[in-house]
Subunit: 556 residues, 3 copies
Amino acid sequence: MSLELRRRIFEQLDQLVLIDPHTHINPHAAASRTLADILGYHYYTELAHSAGMPRQEIEEPGLDPREKVWRLVGYLPALRNTAQYSWLVEICQTFFGLDDADLTPDNWEAVYDRAQQQMAAVGWEAEVLRRSRLEAVFLTNEFDDPLEGFDTRRYIPCLRTDDLVFHLAKEEVRRRLERASGLEVGDARSLRRALACLFEHFKRKGARACAISLPPDFTPRPVSPARANTALAALRSEGPAAAATHRQAIGYYVFWTLAEMCDLFRLPFDLMIGVNRNVYAAGVHQGRDLFDSRVSLLQYQELFNQFPRVRFPISVLASVTNQELTSYAWIFPNVIPHGHWWYSNTPTFIEYDLAARLEAVPHNKQIGYYSDMYKLEFALPKFAMYKRILAKVLAERFVIDRGWSETRAVELGRQILRTNVETVFRWGEDLSQELPDLARVEPLSPQGPLGPIPAAVALAAEEAATPLLGESERLERLPEEPPREFVLPVPPEATADEEGVEPASPAPASSAGEGGPPQSLQLEEAASAPTEGEQRASESLRQTERWPPWPDTPSR
Amino acid sequence: MSLELRRRIFEQLDQLVLIDPHTHINPHAAASRTLADILGYHYYTELAHSAGMPRQEIEEPGLDPREKVWRLVGYLPALRNTAQYSWLVEICQTFFGLDDADLTPDNWEAVYDRAQQQMAAVGWEAEVLRRSRLEAVFLTNEFDDPLEGFDTRRYIPCLRTDDLVFHLAKEEVRRRLERASGLEVGDARSLRRALACLFEHFKRKGARACAISLPPDFTPRPVSPARANTALAALRSEGPAAAATHRQAIGYYVFWTLAEMCDLFRLPFDLMIGVNRNVYAAGVHQGRDLFDSRVSLLQYQELFNQFPRVRFPISVLASVTNQELTSYAWIFPNVIPHGHWWYSNTPTFIEYDLAARLEAVPHNKQIGYYSDMYKLEFALPKFAMYKRILAKVLAERFVIDRGWSETRAVELGRQILRTNVETVFRWGEDLSQELPDLARVEPLSPQGPLGPIPAAVALAAEEAATPLLGESERLERLPEEPPREFVLPVPPEATADEEGVEPASPAPASSAGEGGPPQSLQLEEAASAPTEGEQRASESLRQTERWPPWPDTPSR
Amino acid sequence: MSLELRRRIFEQLDQLVLIDPHTHINPHAAASRTLADILGYHYYTELAHSAGMPRQEIEEPGLDPREKVWRLVGYLPALRNTAQYSWLVEICQTFFGLDDADLTPDNWEAVYDRAQQQMAAVGWEAEVLRRSRLEAVFLTNEFDDPLEGFDTRRYIPCLRTDDLVFHLAKEEVRRRLERASGLEVGDARSLRRALACLFEHFKRKGARACAISLPPDFTPRPVSPARANTALAALRSEGPAAAATHRQAIGYYVFWTLAEMCDLFRLPFDLMIGVNRNVYAAGVHQGRDLFDSRVSLLQYQELFNQFPRVRFPISVLASVTNQELTSYAWIFPNVIPHGHWWYSNTPTFIEYDLAARLEAVPHNKQIGYYSDMYKLEFALPKFAMYKRILAKVLAERFVIDRGWSETRAVELGRQILRTNVETVFRWGEDLSQELPDLARVEPLSPQGPLGPIPAAVALAAEEAATPLLGESERLERLPEEPPREFVLPVPPEATADEEGVEPASPAPASSAGEGGPPQSLQLEEAASAPTEGEQRASESLRQTERWPPWPDTPSR
């Protein structure tokens, strides 16, 4: 009974047209050109290498695509058990006429040829999207991407910020930032302005998210402009050889500023938490990163508290972090579980993690899945894997264990597969003209001490093993608006077209006092409440702030 | 077959009359008065808030109960997937005549009215207990609770000690302690005496446990009276502004003393491990706490070793700690897995954690479940959820996977649902007169240096980042009795009524030497063995020490 | 359907003749002599003790075997739920004619007598092996085991090295090392030479692995000979009272040298990661160890990178580390998941951990199971437990969820149960004469500063809380060969008998630069490439390096 039930639920979920909320698609070459683009995906190269294939065989310069596929096919037998291999077979069966259960030395050439033929056809890209039932695909764009030459309604820009946070010590990255923003980045103030320029550019081009991947020990915190200036000066003179404290200080400064920009520009901030880069330095391209599962979302406590209006779709790399993600999403309105990432994107982990989320996180704030793909052909098998597991969990844990109707189970599936992508990323709204008051982009007080910090203090900072120096200087920061709660209003008699507006209410003083800045700072802040103009600008922003209500929310 | 089997096992488990070994029931208002008491449970307010409901809508001062329910009902659709919501529906269906699958804007008023009517009826409280098949309910009492005005055979007092360990820096807490004990708490000695008074009071009133919840970084250790005196002096003069080392030192001193009192007064010490308080400061009441899953029971190594006679029913907040709990319970006689707590109290985590425990921990020392409820109506759906999962695990992993008979599976369920609650908390024994020799309550050597520690040493303590200063002073502590093993005798020819007595055997010297106090201390201890009087007092205590044998333990 | 399918798969897996790749069998007394050898297994004594049995009852000196069994049988009822108890019953049913479902006070004596009779029979040992379908059994040998007097083709020596890494401060251990090697161990150089002697001895006697168990905080790193000399001098003069930094430094020096020897002698290095010894000091023999689940394989990053030719079969103690093991094995060619160890060796953890591995790690590099047994009779029920779970996972997750044929599922089971044990440990090859060029065993530069380190520096080392002092001295280390990748060639037209040879390729410079030693060291290394002689020796070694290809790897 259960298997039949699973099948029926899957078939209904499989009819949905989806938006893929996180991929690495290149919109100028979204689909594959040969089977080597499929088999060259790092999942196959790294697994083949792990199973015994020398890296040199894979990454030989100038390697012909057909030769590359031939070499990799020789190692596929060792991967037949993996979930990743099952995606490959499903692609070949669905798109390229493979009839067998495996891609083998005997049949690979026919598949290669058929694939090449299909991929060369006009409309292959559209065909893949259509057969995959994909309406749109989120991208991962370098911060200096011009975002030109592709349809930004189908391929949704997303501002990826890893380089800004982790590699600003590299002159090349600072140069790219200066070119992209048209500003010289000489101090914390201009750095902030430059970041605002990126957001404005991306927003105008239709971006719907800002994103970053973070190592396990990352613990975001505010850094004062003065501390940032000192760090930036060190980076400009010493580059990547600058003291780790300076590189960390600027990283935290940029990260915190990005969160402020997400708030101002009203973009969700996708956090992908837990990756250590280059752990296996001799590995194949993109097959070198691993993780340390000892990470806690408690590290993000201050961030979540300070940015109640920013939505944080969060991916965790280790399944053992999934309960924390589940619990934090159950408590924090702005924490949104987001898909099943990378090393947790295999059936056993998905099944367990998904079941835990479905039982404890309100269903209007969890995003089921994204493909993370580099080539369009992968959406179909990856989403199919997810939908089969989702159907299994819905059948076993909701229909059977809890007595739900099939209809209700399918509706829950639709909610996390499609509806929440729409609401979290505000699908259907034109956001390109929704830009903040410039005065709020640059709130640095002109009279604040912006450094450089005296040499002795800077030295102490260099010697300290911590980037917390800036904390003693928080008083120099300009007063922020009091944080507001993140509201998902359910307005009276609302319809999809004429929803009311519900202003966010300031958090009460009692709550701001706990876990927030020290007492003296609060007084300082209280003394400089937003001006009337700022208040208006903010409220004007709120005019469009809304979160589509849950479909069957009762009118009141 | 499996579903039918699960159903049959559930139905047998569902017939059991239970004792709920941990709740937050107020015995003066145990049942709800309106549906707002049900919907006001933090699980609903925090989930509704997480799903988009502003805190102000929930916590508006003077809010009418009916209005509160009406507001919350509007957000329930977003929670329909959660396990917590299923408890609500089961309550409304079982007790208040709800026929629908959901509580909705269309039907809530009828349910509200029906509930109000039922709750106002004479005997509603007894009715709920009867229909929930609950014989007794453990409470969570503030340490200064007079424990008057309720039936302590139905509502079992439990001494909750969080304030004493974590908030003794607050003058109000010290005042409460002084009022409750009738003693001035000026130094470590009087603090210890005051704690003993609380235990005596609670024990006389029928208390069967001492309990505390602990943050992930808590690592209990002994603190010398001299160090405690120094810390207490700082707390008395500076209050919560006292250095963290002093606050920690007094916390560890109090905690260790509580464990000593549990030993002397023969009370289990319920440890609820892993909660960080106030992580989301702007959250709703009781909806602000979260956790860091990076915690290990290794932090409790010294505690478990030093108190072999104290039973520690242990709850862990994170499911990833469950394997440690399982393994520590498999090795340590005094470690007892206790229910499924809070963020781990959802079906997927329960199922996995329960299965792991059932396979590896002797069944006479695991307590299946407690409701943690604030209002009586919640016992029924929470225990029902647990029993369904228990039936599933017994059916799938014992009857099917291991070929057990249904009878045997049900018996295992009964053991962890009911029998072990009886044995661990010594149900059926009158403990109110079982009080220790006063000389043993206060073992501080009069000639020991009890501080205050000289200013320079105190300063060093303040500056140190660790409360371990006291460790160098352990020599000043009065000799303790050698620890004894925790025995669960299986006496020859025992029957339930005429069990023999088996004195605990002192641990052999070789074991005391490992992991125990340093060599010099041992000599010191050896030099001051218990006097004959102490020995008698101790043996008199042992007269009633027993652990009901496993029902089918063979006579020998 | 699923149960029948599981049964069929199990029955096919159960026909396989296996090699048990990790046990604690004493080859001079491999089988039990009385039932007390079975019931005296620490799983039963520690569980009985945890359930209430005083340690003294179990460990009374001179206790008669029959009396011991009688005492333990009285506590068995409390363990009936455990997986460990099920092994006992299966042993008694299979080998000793037990007809009942339990071993009880009523039937134990008959079982005891029958067991005694069987065990006394000539050929009992061979009979157990035959009925357990075991072809060979890996041992755990003390480093000074003469390895004489038993059939090393059936009982495979394995060099266990815990004492060398963790207890070299004990004079007795150093003495044993000197006796076993015939060398005086006075400095780092002679210590290295002595370790090489052990490897040569073991290799000549047919050893196929080196093994060690490691605590959670172990983080292997290279230590310079100079630092090791200083540490060794301290150990020789102070013994176990030497500063922790010295004990750690020598531990890391020995460990790293063992890895180098595994490389030179081409032995897999079994790492059993995560055990804390003596946590419950008053526990029964072998029932005192537990763990801290906060451990990461990231701690082994440098080891895995520096020894690409060494195969590391890895066991983790905590199931929460299993995803890291899975992911590291998916990325690192030399990381091999190895069985289900100790506290993770119960069905729920095995099922979850196994499923995760089967979905993500190439199937030619995971070893399903080992028994860890002390007496031969335990292989049968332990492997049977594992095979039942394997059959369940294959049935549910491969045949049902992924549409695999039964044949294919069984083949995957065979691969991880048998085939990979053969390939990882090079079954069928005579390794006893495969010894490295002696010049490569002792690569210490005669002109390198080998200590002792000046007193002031040594003092600083003693005071430091870290063993990292040696890191600043890495320049003194002799140049190593550039690391090579671990290759599992799939040669063209290979057959089982006439496989080609594929030399390992040196890692490209770009990869060696990341995560590797500092720049200056690299220059040093580049300046002293292997001599022609060394090169030849190395290539001669490679002549026999091969990894049998996956059976159905296509010829190319």
